[in-house]
Symmetry: C2
Subunit: 336 residues, 2 copies
């Protein structure tokens, strides 16, 4: 064994008790990130709780203006309000911020990065780097490698999004509604406007004037930035489903170049961060239950699209807390 | 009140104990169908059970070659094997057969009918009429009225299909898997190749050589016949979701004529058998939990499609045991 002289980093995790925050600690551990020290921050409500890093309890402190003194890397997953106020504070204190909220994703001064796609963009940062939307990240992991070879023009997509995408409270809400159903009690809905147990909700995030939701437009808006492809079009329907973890997306994609299923399979099988799980004869295809907890996204159901000239239909699943959030954030940190 | 001299019909329900069969009795009751007598048939396994019609127990008899003597109308929902063998027997015995399986749907001698769309086709029958696939029926209830005005060219669709579409055993399987999860027991999967609780399965029905499943091609194949529109294209991904009842479909549709959201809404609001539920500002849109048990399908999330020139995106939900099966079958019978 060789000893490596690696720089060690002082890290802050903001939103440490949330569904993504908890994963941040797990991913840093698992990938052996060079940590000098790690601090956990949360809201007033979370202060006093604790996070766990390598079996050590890390007390969660209330986030404040002085929290980032001596911090090299701040991993934010605490929503838009916190990011807007505290990300600039962290940056000005000398930390590099990787933010998981939508706050800075369309800011031309902030790189929006999926390491397997546009890792080089991360180097252009001015202190803040944005992590993409989870559904977008999962879908682009399959769309981009195809785009590199066949040039994607547009996609039609429908999502099947897990409740953990809405955080820990949504997980508890689904559990509670399932128990209520077992006891023939009415379902109480607080996180979502309607019950999610044994239901699907064709709404994720708020509605725009156009009739699309914000979430639905992220694949096109963020996809254009991440793929450096300003003409990319994506018509998406985002739907919440009663799944605890991992998002799935059904995609029909049109390409400028002729595409065959055989060549597409070759390209997908070699794409980084992606696994081709596509054996229909053995009922093998990506599913949230199998991909949950895995770093790699999975693609399958690859077939020639019957309604596009140069088209391909496929199905992608990915753990949105990992590739869609914590893993991608740590991968960005590793690039730097 | 006027007394009407209505002919009364001798009816046989084949597959009387299945998820759709049970609904057949309910729909006949609810719509006041002119019933002279009603008999219930099932497999050997179901013989001895009973169905209920107007609070009266109807014993389920094992289906046999002599079952259709004196029957005017035979409502089949017993799968392909039974339909292939017994529908011709029922027809030759003088009954009109309305079959819910896929057996005769592509047979040019057998009309495939959704009363609100091509009711006149039913009159061309030679003893057998086919009921369409449930997902196709639900989607076409919204696609067809738009097609009449704007001429549909192609659709991209993804489905969210309830377990009751696979029959009573699938309902029990989801219930059992949810209980197992509550007790941290592994899920047993028998009806489906994988657990359906807290999961989604991108497979409904068997795979074809093309990579599409049989179910996925039904929207195009059956849609062409029902709409009398041989150029109609539909690229569909069919997905089973942990919902007990009612299917939903996310649709992006391209039309030959220019289409506006306002005109589309007017057309959909007036379409028979369909309700426009589309108030995003109040979080009102179609959902399986609300549409279950309703005769009408619901359409909402109507918006100008951002990836098609003359395109519309929308979301349809419908009770597939009713409009997708029992209700449609009884509506066909009412036409005759």
């Amino acid at each position: 064994m060789r000893l490596r002289m690696t720089k060690l980093y002082h890290i802050a995790v903001v939103g440490a008790t949330g569904a993504v925050g908890v994963e941040m600690f797990r991913v840093l551990e698992r990938r052996g990130f060079p940590v000098a020290s790690i601090r956990a921050f949360g809201s007033k409500r979370s202060a006093g709780k604790s996070a766990v890093f390598h079996d050590e309890k890390i007390p969660v402190a209330e986030l404040g203006r002085e929290s980032f003194r001596g911090i090299d890397l701040a991993l934010f997953s605490a929503g838009t309000t916190v990011a807007r106020e505290f990300a600039p504070i962290a940056r000005d204190a000398g930390a590099i911020v990787i933010d998981n909220s939508s706050t800075f994703r369309m800011d031309p001064e902030v790189p929006l990065v999926i390491p397997e796609i546009n890792g080089d963009d991360a180097k252009l940062h001015r202190g803040i780097i944005a992590n993409p939307n989870c559904t977008t990240a999962v879908a682009l992991m399959a769309i981009y490698p195809l785009h590199r070879v066949f040039t994607v023009k547009r996609v039609f997509a429908a999502s099947y999004q897990a409740v953990s995408g809405s955080g820990a409270r949504a997980i508890a809400e689904l559990e509670q509604q399932v128990r209520a159903a077992a006891e023939s009690q009415p379902a109480r809905a607080e996180v979502y406007p309607h019950p999610i147990a044994f239901n699907v909700l064709p709404q994720v995030d708020a509605f725009l004037e156009s009739g699309y939701t914000k979430e639905e437009m992220k694949m096109q808006n963020e996809g254009r930035r991440i793929m450096h492809h300003p003409e990319f079009c994506a018509s998406v329907t985002c739907v919440r489903v009663p799944v605890y973890r991992a998002h799935s997306v059904a995609v029909s994609a049109e390409f400028a170049e002729p595409i065959s299923v055989e060549r597409a399979r070759e390209v997908l099988a070699k794409a980084p961060g992606l696994e081709l799980v596509d054996e229909p004869a053995r009922n093998r295809y990506p599913m949230p239950l199998h991909v949950a907890g895995k770093d790699n996204c999975e693609v399958g159901r690859v077939r020639r699209d019957c309604a596009f000239e140069n088209g391909l239909a496929f199905w992608v699943s990915g753990d949105q807390l990992l590739k869609g959030a914590a893993l991608n954030a740590v991968q960005i940190a590793e690039l730097l």
